[in-house]
């Protein structure tokens, strides 16, 4: 079980990496979908031994929302704006990989030093959560397309969710569900906004939007 959890965590780290190394927006969306699905599996594995209804509901909802509905919404937005690639990121892809390596080391180092009130399911859980949050932030600041920034936001939220899994036994279900609903609304609204930005200005480059004056 421990090996399986570790393997899934490594898979999550690699999906983060793939996200910052890829220029195809559709590929990025699929990567985030995969990340959502794997994250959905984790509550079943890290919790207490007998499967509770709570864990199953949480896992099922996460997988459906993060693995299917969000990607579907974003893919629809992608089709509507007719943008295929992130052409000129502010930080290049090879550099992004190096930054990713540094962030990972930082997350590992920090995760070790963070005193936690509860014992975690795997020693990699907290570093993974921190790394995912950092990668999400990095994707937001280093990419130009609004769609990639939405993905960064989603990944960051995935990281917070992974952090919450550490306390899976203490946290009430209602809080998790509330967060998921919030994220759902956010992605829904952002999908529509991206579509409108693209229809109004023929592009979704956010750094060009900052030059607008009223």
């Amino acid at each position: 079980m421990r090996l399986l959890v570790d393997a899934l965590i490594v898979l999550l780290i690699l999906t983060n990496l793939r996200l910052v190394a890829s220029s195809h927006l559709a590929a990025c969306i699929y990567v985030v979908a995969l990340q959502g699905l794997v994250l959905g599996l984790l509550p079943l594995l890290v919790g207490t031994d007998p499967l509770t209804l709570r864990a199953c509901v949480l896992s099922g909802l996460t997988m459906v929302l993060k693995g299917i509905i969000f990607p579907w919404l974003l893919l629809r937005a992608l089709r509507a704006v007719q943008v295929r690639k992130e052409m000129e990121p502010l930080v290049g892809y090879t550099t992004s990989l190096l930054v990713g390596a540094v962030l990972l080391a930082l997350a590992m180092w920090f995760g070790r030093r963070l005193p936690l009130p509860v014992s975690e399911a795997s020693p990699l859980m907290v570093p993974l959560a921190l790394f995912t949050i950092m990668i999400g932030l990095f994707a937001i600041v280093s990419r130009r397309k609004a769609l990639t920034q939405v993905l960064g936001y989603l990944v960051m939220e995935n990281g917070i969710y992974a952090f919450g899994l550490t306390f899976a036994r203490e946290e009430p279900l209602l809080v998790e569900l509330g967060t998921l609903l919030d994220i759902f609304m956010a992605v829904f609204v952002m999908g529509i906004t991206i579509f409108h930005i693209s229809r109004e200005f023929d592009h979704i480059d956010t750094d060009r939007l900052s030059l607008l004056k009223d």
């Binding site: 090996l3 490594v10 690699l14 090879t94 990989l97 190096l98 990972l104 080391a105 020693p123």
Partner: protein, 316 residues
């Protein structure tokens, strides 16, 4: 030092051209061609050795020394290379760095000989070769360090003293099934990184196309255009030995057969090598060459995989 470990390097000298044959047969199968015979490289080598060499007047002794040094470095490296659990004739702490730099020496002399001809195309190939190998080397060394860390609880009794823990033979004898069970994900990443290095260093698709005939896109082939006869034979043979070297490092990792019997372990690694050659053929048949700009990215990814494996194992 026991008998198998003395005989194995010589077996490698005989068997290494076979790997190239397996790759070519696989590619022929995928393309639906009859293809060249399995032992074609042996025939080629025999043919080239019977020929004379032609040297350009602009070249110096470096050009002639290149192939000799390459072959010598490759053969030397074979003597520190373990076959999985079967240890090498020579092993000492840190011999993995010797192996990496013997391959570096090979590359250095290929590059020098290419630059010595004064051809613009060869200089271009040399520049690319050096750029890519500079990125492949960290992936290799960090990957081996991670492997050393993964196995260091499982070192087999003959090398059990801490002396062997940082030698290639020590590392590879400790990568048993137990090591895989306790740190499988990390070892899998190291295996992936080593396979990428294997493809890059042996000038295989997706990094380089060994069959290309366009000077602008060649990397390794363009550097040996001016060599002929016995020199070319030495280079081709040296390249097949290099494939064997890096292949054994990968195959010894992915085949965790550690019975204690050197012959059994070595044959398991040989089976792994044949599988690796087959896999290379499949990769070459199903993938296209990467654009040159994308190559560093893939190599850095391999380096990242190695680093990730090392970090995971350090903080286990």
């Amino acid at each position: 030092m026991n008998t198998p470990s003395l005989i194995l390097p010589f077996l490698a000298l005989i068997l290494s051209p076979l790997l190239v044959g397996i790759v070519n047969r696989t590619k022929a199968f995928f393309a639906g061609r009859t293809g060249q015979p399995l032992f074609q490289l042996y025939f080629d080598l025999a043919k080239l050795l019977r020929k004379g060499a032609v040297y350009s007047k602009t070249t110096s002794w470096i050009f002639r020394a290149g192939p000799v040094v390459q072959l010598a470095a490759a053969i030397t490296a074979l003597f520190v290379l373990p076959w999985g659990g079967a240890s090498a004739p020579f092993h000492f702490n840190g011999d993995l760095i010797l192996l990496a730099y013997l391959m570096g020496l090979m590359r250095f002399f290929t590059v020098l000989a290419a630059l010595d001809t004064g051809s613009a195309f060869e200089g271009m190939g040399a520049s690319r070769e050096v750029q890519f190998s500079a990125l492949a080397e960290p992936a290799l060394l960090v990957g081996l360090a991670a492997a050393a860390h993964a196995g260091h609880d499982h070192i087999a009794p003959p090398l059990g003293n801490f002396q062997g823990a940082l030698s290639l033979s020590g590392i590879y004898s400790s990568l048993s099934m137990d090591a895989w069970l306790s740190s499988g994900p990390a070892l899998l990443m190291v295996a992936g990184a080593l396979f990428v290095v294997f493809l890059a260093e042996n000038s295989r698709i997706p990094f380089d196309d060994p069959n290309t005939h366009l000077e602008l896109t060649m990397i390794h082939e363009v550097m040996i255009l001016d060599h002929g006869g016995p020199d070319l034979a030495m280079i081709l043979y040296g390249a097949s030995l290099k494939m064997w070297l890096l292949g054994s490092l990968t195959a010894g990792l992915i085949v965790p057969v550690r019975t204690g019997n050197a012959w059994l372990d070595a044959s398991a690694v040989f089976a792994g090598l044949c599988f690796l050659a087959l896999l290379t053929g499949v990769v070459e048949s199903t993938m296209a060459r990467l654009r040159l700009l994308r190559v560093p990215q893939l190599l850095v990814s391999a380096g990242f995989l190695s680093t990730l494996a090392l970090i995971l194992l350090l903080w286990r």
